[in-house]
């Protein structure tokens, strides 16, 4: 068994888990809930093993570095953090429906990593610029932030779905929508995820700046990736202020959570493929 097999299994397990969560939601098949959770946990454990194995393999080849250094490894890590955060939320809130809107993100990230063209899955050595512990700190912190924002966006979609149907006043506990948590609760988790993500994104941007400074002597050079991470940071800062000081909540914040996540995606993927910059390592 090698790491790419394990990560391949992970992709399909996340797909299966996503389908299970969808079934629970659409067919109100609550009894399947425990199965979905079990599957997600299994997939998560397989993925964890896969990541560690990949780490070990990189040492066997003689390159020796944590699996966080190219586009493929970063999407795998992204999926891993999304699942971890989701499982924590599920455990804390004892509700599985949220999985319908968040586990697919983990699957999509894995699927993108596995099947998209132009993604190099090889374990490759680190070019000199990437040989830094600040890089590790940077990638880890950024992706925790991104994953929290993914969660917030998934919950944003959930909020909007629940809200549209609630306003039609057809809802009771027997309908599909009724199984979703109360709007206030969703709103609250969205907010908390964004707060959490904002803190980590801030740390991510800062560690990135420290890395740039130790490698090139400039902590901020306005390259497109840096600039987009700052734009994303601004968007969430605006969202938090709108909530704290202008009392925004509910639908508006749900939309902002989704909108903010598009900025995250653009920072993450868009910049690599549509714009050019220092972070070109991500495009291989």
């Amino acid at each position: 068994m090698n790491s790419s097999q394990l990560l391949g299994i992970t992709t399909f397990s996340y797909l299966f888990a996503s389908i299970l969560y969808a079934i629970i939601f659409i067919f109100k098949a609550k009894k399947l809930g425990i199965v979905a959770t079990f599957f997600t946990i299994t997939a998560f454990l397989i993925q964890t093993a896969g990541l560690f194995l990949r780490w070990k393999e990189s040492y066997e080849i003689g390159y020796g570095h944590a699996p966080l250094t190219n586009m493929y490894e970063s999407v795998v890590f992204f999926a891993w953090v999304i699942t971890l955060l989701y499982l924590l939320v599920e455990w804390k809130f004892k509700t599985r429906i949220i999985g319908t809107f968040t586990v697919p993100f983990a699957f999509l990230a894995m699927a993108y990593g596995s099947f998209a063209t132009g993604i190099n899955k090889e374990i490759s050595p680190l070019v000199p610029a990437l040989q830094s512990n600040w890089l590790l700190a940077h990638v880890i912190t950024c992706f925790i932030g991104y994953a929290a924002f993914a969660l917030a966006a998934g919950l944003g979609v959930m909020y909007l779905i629940k809200n549209t149907s609630t306003s039609k006043a057809t809802t009771n506990d027997e309908t599909i929508i009724g199984t979703l948590p109360a709007l206030q609760v969703i709103d609250d988790i969205i907010h908390k995820s964004m707060v959490f993500g904002f803190l980590w994104l801030s740390v991510g941007i800062i560690t990135g700046a420290i890395w740039a400074d130790s490698a090139w002597g400039t902590y901020w050079s306005w390259d497109p990736k840096e600039t987009w991470s700052l734009i994303t940071w601004f968007i969430y800062a605006i969202t938090l202020h709108a909530r704290y000081t202008r009392g925004w909540g509910g639908v508006r914040i749900a939309w902002l959570a989704i909108f903010g996540f598009f900025a995250v995606l653009f920072t993450y993927y868009g910049v690599n493929f549509l714009l050019s910059g220092l972070h070109s390592y991500g495009s291989s």
């Binding site: 804390k92 206030q184 803190l199 800062i206 700046a209 601004f234 202020h241």
Partner: protein
């Protein structure tokens, strides 16, 4: 990990499909309120949980400084902050789509004369340093300063408030409160209850209000200042950037092996800058992985002052040399067609190094030998092997192949020479002087600290009011927090249970 746990603590609202029906809170002006049974307390907790959202509605109106002056009013408004942040986000996109700092002819070529001239007028080619972008950052800073001056005094008052002076009528109106009575006397209760509180980290102060004894304890009062730490940190970062801009510079340098310099050239302008010391590069090496990717670029740098070596370091990317406030970064290199040869006479141990152009012969003065490279193998810019021609005064020349970066020892009539050869490189260095970088990092640290405090800490206050009547003592416990009501509610509930147990303990355990 700690943060992860804190985050989980934030998530402490139970999900219930059925909202707890609204019940009037047990609060009335004619305190003491009726005794509440434990299950009722639970209900109160529930209700307060469902009532806490959203957070914004809970904000108290704080004293503000600027309510009249229109200038200050404008610059203290959050609306302005939101607009500025939106504008910054939108305009920042321009510089990520239109390449920056190209030559003016480049813009004409790619965008046409007319568009290029508009770009020049609006400083688009260097938009992040343009007057309007810096202006936006200036507005943001001014906004932050004035907003803080406007609000901080009010917040500071809350932090420093004398909470024992509270109007007692307000206590029973708090959302978290519980009343019970005990047949212990007020003095025993005071001692017993404050001991429990202290053991839980709630150190109490107390004050007599007529017949009533008021105890108060708080945690995290300073957390109210967290937001202001975040806002200040942004200004600190800006300050650091400005210091770097004014007192620092960026320069670059191509320094061939064995050469030295005391002048570098400013990036962009090319202005020469005196270092005040001499920098020499003894050697530059590239290491490769098996698959041909570069593994390390390494320059052996030596600093001398007045001919005396004062520092040396083998630098690689991500590990620069710092000297006298300047930092030297490994940034690029250049390969020459010349060779760097070092000859060591094994008997006398005399070492001599020469730079040798391809297919030229030279004489080493110390050794009295002649030397030349008569052939070489290269892949692209990189020479991998060289054919050395070597002759001293004893007989015909030796000719041999030498791998670049390697050395070999030859024997000629009893004399041994070790010859090391490599392609000549120049190391490309970035030089940065940035006295503001530490200010920036302090700002970053403050930001993280401030965000943590603002997001994850809360100002929690607990009052305990004791009143002795004929036979018994009535106890009112109430609490308030500015954030994370659920977390506080459970703390409050468990404290409540303990205090209640203690006061009903008929003096067995009381101090």
């Amino acid at each position: 990990m700690l943060l992860l746990l804190r985050w989980l603590k934030l998530f402490s609202i139970p999900i219930s499909k059925h909202r707890t029906p609204r019940v009037l809170l047990v609060s009335s002006l004619n305190w003491p309120a009726p005794t509440i049974e434990p299950h009722t307390l639970k209900q109160i907790v529930r209700i307060s949980e469902t009532l806490i959202l959203p957070t914004t509605t809970q904000r108290s109106h704080k004293a503000r400084m600027f309510t009249k002056n229109p200038f200050f009013k404008f610059f203290s408004s959050v609306k302005l902050a939101l607009s500025t942040l939106c504008l910054l986000s939108l305009t920042s996109i321009i510089g990520t789509v239109i390449p920056q700092k190209e030559s003016s002819s480049w813009y004409i070529e790619n965008y046409g004369e007319f568009t290029a001239s508009i770009f020049q007028i609006l400083s688009v080619p260097d938009m992040y340093n343009s007057w309007w972008f810096l202006g936006l950052l200036g507005v943001l800073s001014l906004n932050l300063v004035i907003c803080s001056i406007d609000r901080f005094p009010g917040v500071w008052k809350q932090i420093k408030a004398d909470n024992l002076a509270i109007d007692l009528k307000r206590l029973p109106k708090m959302s978290l409160q519980k009343t019970w009575s005990s047949n212990l006397n007020i003095e025993d209760l005071r001692k017993g209850l404050s001991t429990i509180m202290t053991s839980k980290g709630w150190t109490t102060e107390e004050r007599q209000h007529g017949d009533n004894l008021l105890l108060f304890s708080q945690k995290g009062a300073l957390s109210r200042a967290g937001v202001y730490v975040v806002h200040t940190s942004i200004l600190v970062i800006f300050l650091g950037a400005i210091i770097g801009e004014i007192f620092g510079f960026k320069a670059s340098l191509m320094l061939p092996e064995t050469h030295q310099t005391n002048i570098v050239y400013e990036t962009g302008t090319g202005t020469p800058i005196e270092l005040g010391f001499t920098l020499r590069c003894d050697r530059f090496d590239i290491e490769f992985y098996d698959n041909g990717m570069p593994k390390a670029y390494r320059s052996d740098l030596v600093v001398t002052e007045n001919g005396i070596k004062t520092d040396e370091k083998s630098i690689v990317v991500n590990d620069p040399l710092k000297y006298n406030g300047l930092t030297f970064y490994q940034s690029s290199y250049q390969g020459y067609q010349d060779f760097l040869l070092t000859v060591t006479d094994q008997e006398s141990k005399v070492v001599e190094t020469v730079i040798l152009p391809f297919q030229e012969q030279t004489t080493l003065s110390k050794h009295n030998v002649q030397l030349g490279i008569i052939n070489a193998q290269s892949i692209g810019q990189t020479t991998s092997k060289m054919k050395v021609w070597f002759k001293d005064d004893s007989g015909s020349a030796s000719v041999f192949w030498l791998d670049a970066g390697d050395q070999t020892t030859i024997e000629r009539n009893g004399r041994k020479y070790t010859i090391a050869g490599k392609q000549l490189y120049a190391t490309g260095l970035q030089i940065a002087k940035d006295p503001g970088v530490w200010v920036v990092y302090v700002g970053c640290g403050l930001m993280i600290l401030g965000l943590y405090v603002a997001f994850f800490m809360s100002h929690r206050r607990i009052w305990l009011l004791l009143r002795e009547t004929d036979k018994e003592t009535t106890i009112l416990l109430c609490g308030s927090t500015n954030k994370n009501k659920t977390g506080f509610t459970s703390q409050f509930t468990s404290l409540c249970t303990e205090l209640e147990a203690k006061s009903k303990n008929h003096g067995k355990n009381s101090v």
